[in-house]
Each structure stands twice: as C-alpha cells, then as structure tokens.
Amino acid sequence: MLYIDCPYCGKRAHEEFTYIGDATKKRPDGAEKNDPAWVDYVYTRDNPRGPHLELWHHGLGCREVVKVLRNILTHEILGAGRPADDIPLPETETKP
C-alpha cells in the first residue's frame, strides 16, 4: 500500500486517488499558435528512472488535486503538496 500525504485530508491510501499526469508540463498560453509548443505539452513526456513530479486527484477524499513526488522505479512517495507548491525535484536517477 502506498500512502499519499494529502494536504487537506492527511495520509491516505493511494486507492483513494486517481493519477492525472505529469506535473511539470505547463499549459501554453491560449494564443500560442506554435504547434511544437502544443505537441510538447500534450505528448512529450520524460520517463525518468527515479523521482517524478505528478498530479493525483483525491476523488474519494477532498476531491482536490494533489502534487506528488514519486519515485517511478521504487514507487516510494517522496512528498506531496498543493498544485501551486514548489516541490524540488531531485535530479538523480535511481540505480536499479
């Protein structure tokens, strides 16, 4: 069982959450006509072997979006906060 420390509800099992996606992508300005900017926003994703910033939706709880730092290789939850929170992303990859 993975536990995510929801900023409103407290520590909850990951079954209460739904994965949304990568939290590092910033939506381009609506007036942006440059296709590569949109392609990058919609499709291009890193697949890091290690820590990854992502958004989860706490559907069976406060129904808020939670920003989670999770190690993709080990599934360890390294931190959580509100979407506007600045959670530093470690640069290191995890060795298998």
Binding site: M1, Y8, C9, G10, R12, A13, E15, E16, G59, L60, G61, C62, R63, E64
Partner: protein, 202 residues
C-alpha cells in the same frame, strides 16, 4: 415552506431498511445499531480558499456554530453541525426543521456558492460496540479510537462508495453521509458486515 407536501422525500432505503434484529443473536446484545437519519438537511457551502476565514465568520454569525478551518475537524452539536469537506468547503447539516439552504442564502454573502444536497444524500447512523470494526472492513483509514476521535470527520471511501464519515461521539457513534444512489449498496454492505456482531435496525 408552503411546498412541504410536494417536497416530502422518499427515502432511498424505503422498503429495504427493515427494522428488527439481524444476524447473530449475541448474549451481550447486538454489536451494531443502525438507523437512517431522515428527514435531514444537508447544504454545501463553498468559497474561494482566500475568503474561507471570512466565510467562517459569516457562518458563525448566521448559525451560531463556527466551522473549523482545520481539516477533518467537525463543529457544532447538531443544530446545525458543520463538517469540512475540502479547502473552503463545508457541509452544514441538521435534522430538517426549516429550509436551511434558503436561510443560508439569505444570511451569507452572494459570493458563497450554496447547494442544497438534502435530496442527494442519505445519512446513516451507526453505533454500538463493534462499529469501528465494521467500518474498518470497508475502509482503508485508521478507525481505532485513538486515531479517529470524536468530533472529527473524514471524506473517504467506504465499501468503494464515496462517503463522509463523522464521528459524533467516542461511544462510538458515527454518522455516514453517502450519495443517495449508493445508499442501497452501502446499506447492504454494512448489514452484511454487521451480521456476525448482530445488527439492530431501528
């Protein structure tokens, strides 16, 4: 309230919630007591997170009960009781004796979103010595008396249905708010889980 007759609600559990004793016949009496609280007013109020403290003050002036800005903390003795369900969002609940939503609309600022959920929620009251064990069967959060204290509430999943669980007292007494369309599922799951302790439905 001229429309009281038209607005009379039919319980989602009408014909399903059968009063009486179910399951094990224990020498020390049933371990679970289950009732539906109806008619019951449930009104959601919501404001932007930055105006939440102002809303809390307005709510205290309007109802005499100050909502807690601390997550998971309930407030009030029941007339009304105010439960936090998210940042800047509360449920104001009480046994129905007035049009609570209309009253709050008149008493709170226009910037507050007020939604009457009385028809959309079913409220079950669970009590008895085995209540925490029963809830733990369908819920991943810690139900122990040292972790789930009186006058705290949790939004969570209970038997996979989204619920608000409010601990009214440490005896224990719990109120469970569930979406109306999941009421039958939740009731059947709770009753099935309660059979081994003995369940008295009133």
């Amino acid at each position: 309230m001229a429309d009281a007759v038209i607005l009379a609600r039919r319980s989602a559990l009408a014909g399903i919630l059968q009063p009486g004793d179910h399951g094990a016949n224990r020498f020390d009496g049933p371990g679970i007591h289950l009732t539906e609280r109806t008619p019951f007013s449930v009104v959601q109020i919501e404001a932007r997170a930055d105006t939440a403290p102002a809303l809390a003050d307005a709510l205290e002036a309007a109802t005499g009960t100050a909502p807690s800005l601390t997550p998971n903390q309930s407030a009030g003795t029941g007339r009304p009781r105010i439960l936090g369900t998210g940042t800047g969002r509360w449920l104001v609940v009480e046994p129905e004796h007035r049009d609570l939503a209309a009253y709050l609309r008149g008493a709170l600022p226009d910037t507050v979103a007020i939604t009457d959920l009385s028809h959309a929620r079913t409220v079950l009251r669970l009590s008895g010595r085995d209540t925490r064990t029963l809830l733990a069967k369908g819920c991943a959060i810690d139900m122990h008396a040292s972790a789930f204290l009186a006058d705290t509430s949790r939004m969570t999943g209970l038997f996979h249905a989204a619920c608000l669980i409010d601990c009214r007292s440490a005896e224990p007494v719990f109120d469970i708010y569930v979406h109306r369309s999941y009421a039958v599922h939740l009731f059947e799951a709770l009753l099935d889980g309660a059979l081994e302790y003995g369940c008295r439905i009133a």
